[in-house]
């Protein structure tokens, strides 16, 4: 180990019943540097962050902070030692105000009462320093995700945190918010903080980070102190242990007649009538910033909220106002928020797959367990769903395997149009590849696939055509041949900003 390291992991091991989540992790981090942690889901990054934050105790090994070995018994211990972990799912109390959240656990008191004035002043100073103009008395519920994230950072800084770890901080931010976050992180670096940055978005890592540590299957496979000679393809190959030539591997496909034609669709979340169509065998991308109305449009098409306008499926007018009705016309949705809208976490994998199709398996009103089992087994094999057993509660699987199970749910049905909202969010590189292959296979079978994504490279990589949405309207339709990151972004940004961007 080097003496310059501010934080050092010494032979960290963490075992869970039946699984070694981390083994022999040994590396160090310097002051004033931004260190990326990369690896597929389940590689052990989250477990390491939890050990760092004091949420887990390592089975073996220890941390060393500023040359002193330390053992945290709780997250409070870690915070007091100056370590703050900012999780993807933020830890704020939505119904308390900004100031109350920031001072939670250490509110200034005078004569036993909370000293509101002192609290407000301290909070205001800290927020100004981050360049955020938020009223300290606002309820956190009313803030955007980006603002909440800034609050988490402010909270850490108010406790004089020296080590800050970010877990997928940009997964739900807009491009502009990402810029701002990066500025703040760079500023923290200049102030000598030791920063850990976990992200699936490799381009961010190359833009932001000084060093990178690669994990695979609970082990450290490489620890680079500088980024020279490292490129995304190399990182990916080290992460998955093999090289992935082209993540998207798109090929031209024959297309048929219109599978879905939408004219003058209006409903919640849209600011103007939406019209578009998609052919059998086509993969149509929907790009836009968060809040542009893409997910809302998908929900409307799936009948999850009421709409007006004209929808034709395979040339025939379709009218429905529930997801059940949409399914009757062969339209299915893989929702963006898998955990809350997609899976039944406590139910088995098989149950999650068969939930919708089983109504067609019934005889005299009774379901057919063997037919269900066969259906689940065939999809487990076809989509390569990795699970110890089909009886396993699906909540215990990785995001990628959950997504595959939801795909299996819809592939069991006779669908014409598949809507996929952020199909690979939070899914590791290797599994992403498999999801894309499934998409291509479906399109080849003549299904129209609509993909919503905030990930520009993904949209460019898989779509035959891209619709761009901005502020609740469809503003452009771009063919694959003409689509570039720049063009799509220019359409997607609010007009005043687009000019600034150009």
């Amino acid at each position: 180990m080097s003496n310059q390291d501010y934080l050092h992991f010494h032979g960290i091991q963490k075992a869970f019943p039946g699984v070694l989540a981390l083994d022999g992790i040994d590396f160090g981090l310097r002051e004033g540097s931004i260190n990326a942690l990369v690896g597929e889901n389940g590689a052990g990054k989250s477990t390491l962050l939890k050990i760092l934050s004091g949420a887990y105790a390592p089975t073996a090994g220890h941390l060393e902070l500023a040359g002193r070995p330390c053992q945290f018994r709780s997250t409070r211990d870690a915070l007091q030692a100056g370590i703050a972990v900012i999780y993807q799912e933020l830890n704020l109390v939505p119904d308390l105000s900004v100031e109350e959240n920031l001072m939670l656990g250490h509110m200034p008191a005078r004569f036993g009462c909370i000293d509101r004035a002192a609290m407000r002043k301290a909070v205001r100073v800290e927020l100004e320093r981050l360049g955020e103009h938020i009223d300290p008395t606002t309820k956190v519920r009313r803030l955007s995700i980006a603002q909440r994230q800034m609050l988490e950072i402010a909270k850490a800084l108010m406790l004089d945190a020296k080590v800050l770890a970010f877990d997928e901080p940009t997964s739900s931010l807009t491009e502009r918010e990402v810029r701002k976050l990066f500025e703040v992180i760079r500023d923290l670096k200049r102030k000598g903080c030791c920063i850990i940055y976990v992200s699936h978005r490799l381009e961010e890592i190359f833009e932001l980070c000084d060093a990178v540590t690669i994990f695979r299957d609970g082990r450290l496979v490489e620890d680079r102190k500088d980024m020279t000679g490292v490129d995304p393809a190399y990182l990916v190959s080290r992460m998955v242990g093999r090289s992935i030539e082209n993540v998207y591997s798109w090929r031209p496909r024959p297309m048929g007649d219109f599978a879905l034609e939408v004219e003058g669709l209006e409903g919640r979340g849209l600011r103007g009538p939406a019209s578009f169509s998609v052919r059998r065998g086509e993969i149509l991308g929907f790009f836009g910033l968060v809040g542009a109305g893409r997910s809302e449009l998908m929900k409307l098409l799936f009948g999850a909220s009421p709409w007006s306008g004209q929808v034709r499926v395979n040339g025939r007018p379709a009218s429905y106002h529930t997801p059940r009705g949409a399914l009757g016309h062969g339209i299915a949705l893989c929702p963006e928020d898998r955990k809350n809208e997609g899976i039944f976490a406590v139910r088995s994998v098989a149950e999650n797959i068969n939930i919708s199709v089983r109504r067609t398996f019934t005889r005299f009103g009774f379901i057919h367990p063997r037919q269900e089992q066969r259906n689940a087994e065939s999809f487990q094999q076809r989509l390569n769903i990795r699970t110890p057993s089909l009886a396993q509660p699906i909540g215990k699987l990785s995001g990628g395997n959950q997504q595959k199970a939801i795909l299996a749910r819809w592939l069991s049905e006779d669908i014409q149009v598949l809507l996929m909202d952020e199909p690979t969010r939070g899914i590791d590189v290797g599994t992403k590849n498999e999801i894309y292959s499934i998409m291509y296979e479906l399109a080849e079978r003549g299904i129209a696939v609509i993909v919503v994504s905030s990930d520009l490279p993904e949209i460019l990589g898989v779509s035959d055509r891209v619709m761009v949405m901005r502020e609740g309207r469809i503003v452009a339709s771009v063919d694959r041949a003409d689509a570039t990151q720049d063009l799509l972004l220019r359409h997607a940004l609010p007009q005043s900003e687009a000019q600034a961007h150009a």
């Binding site: 070694l20 059940r324 929702p335 809208e341 976490a345 939930i355 990795r386």
Partner: protein, 321 residues
């Protein structure tokens, strides 16, 4: 994929057996111990008495299982039991017809259940509050209809329902057993049952999976009302009157039995066999305490203690899993 230390198949199998059948084992051990140590416990007469004493809770636990599994609650069942009994008695006395009386009781209780379901599903009001309000309302209606006192029943043939026997076993036991089997089949073998569990597991996902969530909720509560009503009518038959003051705390007895049987209060998890065991444990403990002449006041302590232990036991099991 995470590396596994080494497969310990035997241990895992033992654990899964324990998880699936843990409560049943507890019950079996308890039952054998009581049979050995408590005189008269394992006599034919006491066994029939025991089964009869749990029949009311058992019947309503069948539908409460569906209610809890779908992530809801129903506190109004004790009111429904009373309402059905009183309605049945009043209509029977007025018309002289047993059939009309029974139908009135069933119709009234099904209506209560339907209203519960419609309000919860369509107006999206919390089930706890809805059914609590409904409980007050139907208790009130029962008092009004009965003028606040027990309504005696004159039709001798009606008493046959609750007091008659088939092959030596009283009718209520047969009815309860049939309901156990029927609702067990419904839960495991029909889309209705599986969808119920799915709704409890994740209501939003259920809707987006094409499940008619509102309709199923309304059905769950309507059936709940209907079965509670049937239990109320049988009770009226056994007591030869409709009693507006009876059944206080019955809803909580039913919910306790379900929880004891491993039904999750947050929904999505529950089995019929578990509920049967839960009902039997509750009934057996009470029966044994009666045989041992333990005063009623102390029996409450035991009941509460058992419930707490069961829930803690369940927590520990889940944390390990």
């Amino acid at each position: 994929m995470e590396p596994s230390i080494e497969p310990k198949d035997m241990k895992r199998r033992a654990r899964s057996l324990w998880e699936d059948a843990g409560m049943f084992l507890v019950f079996a051990v308890m039952f054998v111990a009581l049979a050995v140590f408590v005189p008269f416990f394992f006599s034919v007469q006491n066994m029939i008495g025991l089964a009869l004493s749990v029949s009311m809770v058992g019947m309503v636990a069948c539908t409460m299982l569906f209610c809890l599994a779908s992530g809801d609650f129903d506190l109004s069942v004790e009111g429904t039991v009373v309402l059905a009994g009183v309605l049945c008695a009043v209509v029977m006395n007025a018309t002289g017809s047993v059939t009309l009386g029974v139908l009135a009781g069933l119709a009234g209780s099904a209506l209560v259940g339907f209203l519960n379901g419609a309000i919860i599903a369509k107006l999206k009001i919390n089930a706890l509050i809805t059914t609590l309000a409904m409980l007050y309302i139907i208790r009130g209606v029962s008092f009004i209809v009965s003028n606040g006192s027990a309504v005696g029943i004159g039709q001798e043939s009606f008493f046959q329902l609750g007091n008659g026997a088939l092959l030596g076993l009283p009718n209520p036991i047969w009815i309860t057993a049939v309901l156990f089997v029927l609702f067990g089949l419904l839960l495991n073998r029909t889309t209705y049952g599986r969808n119920t569990l799915a709704i409890g597991g994740n209501q939003d996902a259920a809707r987006l999976a094409g499940i008619p969530v509102d309709r199923i909720k309304i059905i769950i509560f309507t059936v709940q009302g209907l079965v509670a009503g049937a239990a109320g009518i049988i009770l009226a038959s056994r007591m030869t009157s409709g009693q507006p003051n009876s059944s206080v705390g019955f809803a909580l007895d039913v919910i306790s039995a379900c929880v004891l049987g491993g039904v999750s209060l947050t929904g999505g998890i529950g089995t019929m066999s578990g509920v049967v065991v839960g009902v039997l444990i509750m009934g057996t403990v009470q029966n044994a305490m009666n045989l041992m002449n333990i005063p009623t006041f102390y029996q409450y302590l035991a009941k509460g203690g058992i419930l707490l232990l069961a829930v803690m036991f369940d927590q520990i099991k889940q944390r390990k899993g």
